[in-house]
Symmetry: none
Subunit: 130 residues, 4 copies
DNA sequence: GTGGTCTAGACCACC
DNA sequence: GTGGTCTAGACCACG
């Protein structure tokens, strides 16, 4: 579990951590039962505040993604892979819906949106960064 | 210029005002040179504080969308339509790009994205709501 | 006396009127004893508010540049030419001093200022506008 | 970063703060990445309201001079030195141009302007005050 | 602790 | 009447 944080991109750091944990679970980098780095470890590795990591872990636990092992740390729950896979689709669907809503309000046609999607997708896959 | 404010949707009030002004300019409801409601008027109409409206107007002025005529009020600048039309496209393009980036990270194919776009677009246009 | 007003350049309209009256007196377009247009006339001609012209006239009278003729209007005072000629120099001297002060604070050398003066002067005299 | 505010000199307080921050960046007193005093600190030090400092910081951020790091504070952006140095030159150039324009309108020769510059510069450097 | 938003109410210059 | 500035004090999200 390596975490890449970009402070100053508008997305709260605790949320960036949450996403990356979920992403790792969804794609199988983190397996059910596997232990996560301690809040202190991850805080040092990602150069963020301990409280921030703790908040991310806490919210993941509330969502049923992580189990807290008494006095030992957090581990990936049995339900996590399902949750995370559903989650990533839902998140994308929601954000997409909100963008489309705005496009609709601005009288942009579905054709224009489609071509925007294609052109942006190309520019993203060509540089292949992130 | 009627302004509908939804306090509590997370978007700052002054930004909601900015968007609605820009939107009205982009679609021709507000013409170049036309006067906007005074800060006091709009504050009453939208049930928000005068300073909040003033901030929205000030930022629009800084962006070159509004001219402030001393003692007279605010009016739509000559460059406003261009700025606003570019603005709305750019905003949508940026948000779309960010969604696509996330889709890419989650190994979702462009076909899946396309079908998501189409299905969400349909559901939005059918209910036709705001 | 034709007055050209540029609302929206930051300089108060009443002050623009004052300057143009003084300028006309200093260069002899307005002679001692000559009557000025009525506030209403000038307001119409310059497309500004009557109160604004009235304020300009009032301040010019307070400065001794204009005499108010009972119920008839304003006329150029005997002392006006002297006042206006001194005034224009003083005004320029003051503004120049303030610019130089800022240049000094920003550690700009007198040589740089001199070359700025020359280059700006050239660009102003070439187009010869204003 | 010590801020000296002169309330009542006509220049808005938030603008005085902006200028002093930019000035400090331009002359190297504030380095790229360096943290600025918190809005509350600076408000106390300069004896002004927190909101006033916040406005200055916000506008500097909008200009790309400051980065706002969530929950951490404001810091000097990478582009700041360039922006600030260009800024100070442009501001002086603009004001100088406006003075020269007025001089031109008043039929003052470039020689007179030059000698004014020199004499005023001398009087400013001799007293060497702020 | 940090900045960000909002309200309420005051005072100002300008038209 | 108009916008512009400032203060005071509250609440919020983030670290």
């Amino acid at each position: 579990m390596i975490c890449h944080i970009d402070a100053g991109n508008g997305i709260p750091i605790y949320e960036q951590i949450e996403r990356q944990v979920k992403f790792s679970i969804a794609n199988g980098s983190l397996l059910v039962g596997e232990r996560l780095p301690s809040v202190r470890e991850l805080a040092v590795q990602a150069a963020v505040n301990v409280n921030t990591v703790a908040r991310a872990y806490r919210e993941l636990q509330q969502q049923g993604v992580l189990d807290s092992i008494r006095g030992t740390g957090m581990s990936v729950s049995a339900a996590a892979p399902d949750i995370c896979r559903q989650d990533r689709l839902q998140m994308i669907r929601d954000r997409l819906r909100s963008v489309l809503q705005e496009a609709l309000q601005n009288q942009i046609s579905v054709q224009e949106v489609r071509s925007l999607v294609d052109s942006e997708w190309q520019s993203l896959t060509q540089q292949d960064s992130g």
